[in-house]
Symmetry: C2
Subunit: 337 residues, 2 copies
């Protein structure tokens, strides 16, 4: 069965998705009888478009010069062109404005209005307009999937289906690898926040402007999506009480340590409240993870805490999460079993 | 929609399942429109049978005297009576002979041959006849689910669907809470194996005959099911190289400790080999968990290790896993969304 797709945003995640898709084409055909064809790849200044399916090998070969390919159409915009496409699914991986969720938000709305299923790795639209997007999808009988947005390839959202009977009562998590890396280094080396941040930036774990990570905004966005999904709520990032880690001192960490505690930047859902803030947790407890890992402790009524842990970031990881969403949509549509 | 069930085995797990089902009846009705009715509950010496649905409240009220209820039919055997039942699903929770998988194995085969979907918390049938049972289910167009068998309510088997695109390459796990408890105590207290075992028995973590747990047979059975499920294989418990922990000494643990290691009873799948044996792992690494917890490290190609952790045993936990399987079968059959 041929399934036509478009990709919006040919950045790191988008490119890794294309590569993974190509690598998996054979097995998707033999195992599921699925043949995914990329009809269009949109960038900010134009698009590669071929209604018979783009030649991915050619696109990889030419690398950053893809604008020289004959399928390139200059100045074409996703928002204006989506309605002309004969596709089933739109993959959205553009860079997003964290305050507005744009341009991803408009792309997703336009895709749904055209009856396309949507898979996105963009948090913004979902921590701002979770319910609205779900209602629009329902109205248009479409699926929207966004597992990559929370803890990347760790199936934090998908696990909902595996815990239906086992009532979830709360969440405690570490959802930002950058701030966790910084606190881990401050704890193990006793260094100042600024030094640990500099090290994280040098290693590529923190961005030049690290505000979103260290002030807790990134974790808050993920927490909103996770809680909306697991508890079927309609919260937005405005509902989160957020405190960053930039005022944590080595002295505070040392003091905690002497009593058997570590300071972690936790994202918590408890008693209908959403919090992102530095918290004391017991040393060597399940949330005491080091480095850039993510961890999610799901408190359940019938089986205590269930813990999920893994890499929470990375383009390859996000690409695998996107492809998984895409395959699961085919299942939901009954095309595969 | 009314869905008729039978339960075989009214032990701890079976009873907890009935209680959970009753507790969830209202929400199952309002949320999914599902009305589960228990038509029969089989014990070794008879059965409670009522084709209009048994009155669970009455059964709970009377406790161990359930044989005095008017719905009790003496000497009725599940194996002979299943074909007479008008049910959709059979829940199997009898005590099992670990060598033969009986009587669960015969119950499951009989249920499938009658066209009933099956949910079971029994490992035996699945580490002995995994492929045969799946083939029989397919032939009869039935579903079989057994998520409770591996790490209880931790969705170790169900997670397969969430990692389709993210190729799984190996497993490292701790699947037996008893042996992990014993090793944890030997490590923290420096005591002999026999003393730690006695403590575990006093606390109810180990059985009077602890052989299956401490010699690795229990973990091996779970490993077989986990690996068959995640890698679509047809292995049996005979394929596992098994070594127990009864010859581990406090000296060996101390020696490991001095080099930054702990000894854990690991269940491993690597390079097509299945192993259960004591292994050195780095102190404070993700598999270094204490107490009776279970942990499963799933090594993936695109996102490194993904770790699942939680309580691996307990009747309530198993009951929640069973009810979850039951609900998911309704989804697979298209009765709910």
């Amino acid at each position: 069965m041929e399934r036509n797709l478009c990709l919006i945003g040919k950045g790191n995640v988008g490119t890794q998705f294309l590569k993974l898709l190509q690598k998996k084409q054979e097995i998707l055909k033999t195992k599921f009888g699925l043949n995914f064809r990329i009809i269009a790849i949109f960038e900010y200044d134009g698009a590669l478009i071929n209604n018979n399916g783009l030649d991915l090998a050619k696109i990889f070969d030419i690398g950053e010069n893809f604008r020289k390919l004959e399928d390139w159409e200059k100045n074409v915009k996703a928002l204006n062109y989506l309605s002309k496409l004969d596709i089933e699914t739109c993959i959205e991986t553009t860079p997003t404005n964290p305050d507005t969720g744009e341009p991803a938000l408009s792309h997703i709305i336009e895709a749904l209005n055209n009856g396309f299923d949507v898979v996105s790795s963009n948090k913004g639209p979902f921590y701002l307009k979770y319910r609205e997007l779900h209602e629009l999808a329902e109205k248009n009988k479409c699926y929207i999937k966004y597992d990559a947005t929370v803890a990347s390839c760790v199936p934090a959202l998908a696990i909902k289906n595996d815990l239906i009977a086992n009532e979830i009562i709360g969440i405690k998590s570490i959802l930002n690898g950058t701030s966790n890396y910084i606190l881990s280094r401050m704890t193990s080396e006793g260094v100042e926040f600024s030094l640990a941040l500099k090290e994280a930036q040098e290693l590529g774990y923190a961005e030049a402007d690290p505000t979103l990570d260290i002030e807790g905004f990134d974790a808050a966005g993920k927490l909103v999506i996770l809680v909306n999904e697991l508890f079927d709520l309609s919260l937005t990032i405005k509902d989160v009480k957020i405190r960053g880690i930039s005022d944590i001192t080595p002295q505070a960490i040392k003091l905690a340590k002497s009593d058997g505690y570590v300071i972690k930047h936790l994202a918590i859902y408890k008693n209908n409240s959403l919090l992102v803030e530095p918290r004391l947790i017991e040393k060597n407890s399940s949330l005491d993870i080091n480095g850039t890992l993510n961890v999610i402790e799901i408190q359940t009524k019938y089986a205590g805490p269930i813990i999920l842990m893994g890499r929470g970031a990375g383009a390859k990881e996000a690409a695998a999460a996107i492809l998984n969403d895409l395959i699961n949509i085919q299942k939901l549509r009954g095309y595969i079993h």
